[in-house]
């Protein structure tokens, strides 16, 4: 297991709570603001998932697609995101884990080995690659590269996936596994606890890997409910919406970071059991 994840999971356990994971798109709305936001959020989050924008993603909600658009407009590129993470890490004292979330095309274009190297160099703790099929040759390469370099490979599992798929995913997952709470798009429905319970049960039969849950977790109550079932609780769309709201108000940099930070602080308090 990746060291940072080891630490935050242990810490959370000791505090009788789950880990809180925030998702934001890297460089949304721009490099400097995003940097301040990430630094601010790391005060309240055990882990931050940073979206690497892809303009033709197949699985993002409209909310996240527009965040991607804003980021791309302000110059987001794979390399820039690494720089951002590196700079943020250097200013953050706590053990916040940083995870990239992106699509295979950009990693492919960047070069898989190159990507893994730069993850390592910039202090990334793990990667999510939404559309990397377990059976694809690229997936093997990513899995091997991350594992070799002690970074987490975080696989997504949906309620509609079958046993076989879960098995495959478990084989390649390290540090934690990401359960999608419903078959749908991020932010589109309410978190589905029944699905989570069912999936956790299936996974628990085969593995002790920590379980994160995301999709549809929008407020303090959602966080609270899910944290009873999960080791990590992921909030995305509502935070991204907050960034949009703040920047539409004209806030930038530190002010925006505080505005988003206050929101995330409240959310994150839900993880206390």
């Amino acid at each position: 297991m990746n060291k940072t994840f080891q630490k935050i999971l242990a810490k959370a356990k000791s505090e009788n709570r789950s880990c809180f994971v925030a998702f934001v798109t890297g460089m949304d709305p721009d490099y400097e603001s995003s940097k301040k936001i990430l630094i601010e959020l790391s005060k309240y989050c055990d882990c931050i998932e940073i979206g690497v924008s892809f303009n033709t993603s197949t699985s993002d909600s409209s909310i996240i697609m527009s965040a991607n658009d804003r980021a791309i407009k302000s110059g987001a590129k794979t390399g820039k995101i690494f720089q951002l993470i590196k700079e943020v890490k250097s200013e953050v004292k706590s053990d916040t884990a940083f995870v990239t979330m992106g699509y295979l095309n950009q990693i492919h274009v960047y070069g898989i080995d190159n990507y893994i190297n730069d993850c390592k160099k910039s202090g990334v703790d793990g990667c999510i690659v939404v559309d990397s099929n377990n059976e694809a040759p690229e997936d093997d390469q990513i899995f091997k590269g991350l594992t070799k370099n002690n970074m987490a490979y975080i696989k997504l599992i949906a309620p509609t996936n079958d046993d076989n798929y879960i098995k495959q995913s478990l084989k390649k997952s390290s540090s934690w596994l990401y359960i999608v709470s419903y078959a749908g798009v991020t932010g589109s429905k309410e978190v589905n606890l029944d699905n989570v319970k069912k999936l956790s049960k299936m996974i628990r039969k085969q593995s002790k890997i920590p379980i994160g849950v995301g999709f549809g977790i929008k407020n303090y109550d959602d966080v609270k409910k899910v944290s009873k079932l999960a080791d990590l609780v992921v909030c995305g769309s509502s935070i991204v919406e907050k960034i949009k709201e703040g920047s539409q108000k004209g806030l930038t940099n530190q002010n925006l970071a505080q505005f988003v930070g206050e929101y995330v602080k409240t959310l994150s308090e839900g993880v206390k059991h």
């Binding site: 892809f54 303009n55 197949t58 697609m65 274009v109 099929n133 694809a136």
Partner: protein
């Protein structure tokens, strides 16, 4: 006419890859969020079942013959022969008249087959698809209307605003049209929106407009569409007693190209040409010529293939007068066939295609789809170059141009 049955000539591996043995490069695959994996598996298993189900295949064929009208004629075009230099110099030119199909293009063949498959094999009640210029949407909506399935069409808001005969017909066929306001508000985000919608509704079936997308779509679409080529191959044999020397088709996603050329994949003597849109010229960057423009390999909408993109892997928008070719990728099997050299590629500029459109109207009395004009221009050029009176040339006239009339009349008036 007895239609020759389908025969698999170029199977991908079990993961949906076509692998170039020389370069090791893989094309195809299934790059998609885990949420769609089960949906795709259902389609994959269903498709295998369907291809072994004689009753399904017979009934489908009967509908394709009598409803879509797939047994279209092959017209020997003396007019085009004369334009290319005369039969005595360049041989004979044959046009496969796919423009005479129900709903006026090759699209209804795979669209109807896919919806028929969804209904009878998957027992789906709803179809989800996306569209740019609505040719695909029109075809899918028509099939859904006939077969009694709900039809949901995703279209970019920018595309939806454009005047479009096909979009209006899609609405008349009763499809629910959902505008997509994401990103560029054009085809690519609409495709993503359709996939996301499917992700939320696994009991529906997604239908793709060309031989693109994750496995098994490229395989399924070309298999369904290839009935056009099976018929054409038989017709050409009856007409000329031999294999054609050349087969020409335009290539957007690649469905009409594979539709007509697939049955010739193993015929060494047949030269297959795929024609792309060079837009304003390949060097201008404003084009849709994925292969001729030497676009790199990427992963777009679930499959490995040549993709128009920038150095960061962001997909570039294609540019072309032909909305049916306005796509940043090309189907994986086609890319594979291009990589082996079996399909040769050429590109025609918008201007050349527009002039060809006017020529076709005036000299042949045929109103071609603008898409088909890219191939006609390039074919005439290649035929003139070959200058072989013993050759027979087959050109896929893949659609008729009712929906291009407004823009083309403006072009005509502006340029005369």
């Amino acid at each position: 006419m007895k239609i020759p049955p389908f025969k698999e000539l170029n199977a991908p591996d079990s993961l949906g890859y076509w692998t170039n043995k020389k370069t090791g490069e893989k094309y195809g695959g299934q790059y998609i969020s885990p949420l769609l994996i089960p949906n795709l598996k259902k389609v994959e298993v269903g498709f295998q079942k369907a291809m072994k189900n004689k009753k399904f295949l017979t009934n489908l064929e009967e509908q394709l013959v009598n409803h879509i009208g797939i047994v279209t004629p092959i017209l020997r075009s003396k007019e085009l022969e004369d334009i290319a230099g005369g039969e005595k110099k360049i041989g004979k030119i044959f046009l496969k008249r796919t423009d005479l199909h129900h709903d006026s293009s090759h699209k209804p063949v795979s669209a109807f087959s896919s919806v028929y498959f969804a209904k009878h094999i998957l027992k789906a009640k709803k179809i989800i698809t996306e569209t740019g210029a609505s040719m695909n949407a029109r075809a899918v909506a028509s099939a859904c209307a006939k077969l009694g399935l709900e039809c949901e069409v995703h279209i970019g808001a920018v595309d939806a605003e454009k005047v479009s005969l096909n979009k209006d017909i899609t609405e008349l066929y009763g499809a629910k049209i959902i505008e997509c306001h994401d990103s560029t508000k054009t085809l690519l985000p609409a495709m993503a929106a359709a996939l996301r919608s499917w992700q939320s509704d696994p009991s529906a079936m997604y239908v793709v407009g060309s031989c693109c997308g994750p496995h098994p779509y490229p395989l399924m679409v070309r298999t369904f569409a290839s009935i056009i080529g099976r018929i054409a191959k038989k017709q050409m044999q009856e007409l000329t007693g031999k294999l054609p020397s050349t087969v020409f088709a335009v290539c957007g996603g690649g469905s009409n190209l594979s539709a007509i050329s697939y049955p010739y994949y193993n015929d060494k003597k047949v030269n297959i040409f795929g024609i792309e849109s060079a837009g304003k010229g390949i060097s201008s960057g404003a084009h849709a010529a994925t292969i001729t423009g030497k676009a790199p390999i990427g992963i777009l909408l679930g499959a490995r293939s040549n993709v128009l993109m920038n150095e960061d892997g962001q997909i570039n928008e294609s540019h072309t007068e032909a909305s049916g070719l306005d796509f940043s990728g090309t189907g994986p099997e086609i890319c594979y066939m291009a990589s082996t050299g079996k399909i040769k590629f050429r590109a025609t500029t918008d201007k050349e295609a527009q002039e060809t459109f006017l020529m076709m109207c005036r000299k042949t009395g045929i109103l071609p789809a603008i898409e088909a004009c890219y191939v006609i221009h390039a074919a005439l050029k290649e035929i003139k170059r070959r200058k072989n009176p013993r050759e027979n040339h087959l050109i896929h006239l893949c659609g008729s141009g009712e929906s291009n009339v407004g823009r083309m009349l403006k072009y005509k008036r502006d340029n005369e």
